[in-house]
Symmetry: C2
Subunit: 309 residues, 2 copies
Amino acid sequence: QTFAGNLAKKLDLMKILMENFQKLEDEEILSKSVKEFIGNILTCQDAKVVLVTSGGTTVPLEQNSVRHLDNFSTGGRGSKSAEEFLRIGYRVIFLHRKGALFPFARLLSNSEEVMQKLEVDSQGRITLEDEKIAKAVKEHKKLMKPLFFLSIPFTYLGEYLHKLQVICCALQPLRRRAMVFLAAAVSDFYVPYSKIPEHKMKSSEKLVLEFEQTPKMLNTIVDEWAPEALVVSFKLETDIEILIHKAKSALANYGHQVVVANLLQTKDETVSIVTSSAIFKINSTKNDPIENQILNQLQIMHNQFITQQ
Amino acid sequence: QTFAGNLAKKLDLMKILMENFQKLEDEEILSKSVKEFIGNILTCQDAKVVLVTSGGTTVPLEQNSVRHLDNFSTGGRGSKSAEEFLRIGYRVIFLHRKGALFPFARLLSNSEEVMQKLEVDSQGRITLEDEKIAKAVKEHKKLMKPLFFLSIPFTYLGEYLHKLQVICCALQPLRRRAMVFLAAAVSDFYVPYSKIPEHKMKSSEKLVLEFEQTPKMLNTIVDEWAPEALVVSFKLETDIEILIHKAKSALANYGHQVVVANLLQTKDETVSIVTSSAIFKINSTKNDPIENQILNQLQIMHNQFITQQ
């Protein structure tokens, strides 16, 4: 029955992927650019690569989508982590929610604040004085080179899952040198595309929406898509009591290596890195974002993981 | 029975406002800044003011909000309209979804694109060459002065409704010199705050969400909050057959003056401005965004409206 249950879940995942596949126009372009990026890494013996997913997925409630269910995520953790991965020498594939925070460019995300700082000089040239932004511009130029950084956007849940599959499968030749860092906030529920009304829903007295559970893709990543990669998932909860318990069960259920566990209320100050044999508690320091410390720990783990091969 | 029905709807609106009122920390600051802004306008005999609402509201599905129902809207129409209102001399109160497009600063909204254009010169000064942005920076400095532009952000539906009430009521002393331009995409459905679970919902087999209909506030604006203002609402549909019919019924039901009717598919190329006695069809031209032409028409209507006083 567990086998049948697993099969049913995989069928659900295949269905959602198939539905989306028919809508993807850039399938070939995506596949080609990912393969080129990975191909270049394969020629460098010690290069490591990380797939960072970032931002929240949306689930459309209409085909001409006006309304959708959204998962809150600014993309802060994913974009800061991608920056730090680049600094410590990783090649980064950044699968991110379109419009969410972007590495380095995140410092420009408040466009009104930036606008207020801009000046136009007598030659019509726009200038800006800001130390932090100047540092980010320099790092952006130095680190985000085509061989080191590949940007792939998504909006919808189905699109996210499809692109995740394409990228994970392309990582296979890199074996243990690949890390999958799943910081995106993926909706737990969705409405199958075939059940979505074509036109905007009418406002009636009450609205009752029936969502189906999003098929879990973590075990499919571990079993099929990227079986040799180091897979890091995130658990975000609002209740401390169930957080570590849930992290441990996730490791047991899906068979991946690391869960980064955090509470919504304190996620920028303290996180726990949970593996099947240990828990590393990490607190933020004054100067660095907490992402830098999480990545220090993950880098150590990844190096051990590669050596054990 | 219609009276009882209306009363019930007003009770719903009051309930949602009350719930939100208890959460608003900046109630006094909001009220004070709006009154100051309006007070300054009252001293200029011919000054006209417009309240522009812009962007989509969200409805939280959890108290520590991770998941929410969102209405798609970039805030393009609202932010471009606010710019043009400023150009033609209106004072503008911009009630907008936090993070949605902002007048002039909207040209910087793609932060990654902007980042790629930035250079750091030998003195550490950041420079940018872009004609359109340079023009926007100059207009921003010239037009968005404290006496002419007041920015008020919102995120949640209840917050939007509450702030809308505060601002509309503050417009009363301006009588017909005030316009209310409702370009925000307001959710038709919501979950009352008292029914929202405190913690993140558990992922069970199926999720069934029951939403209540958002109380209509248009008739309350017309009857109570800003009874003398020119009120402009928007209708966005995906089906051309029902669009004009819906626009006409809205005017009949709510008793306001203008509906700007558009189809999701063609909203940047063609709109209909619908009043109780006429329909003005407007098409975009090559050089200007369609918002400029909509506003030309509305300005004529507003001037007539003031003269008829």
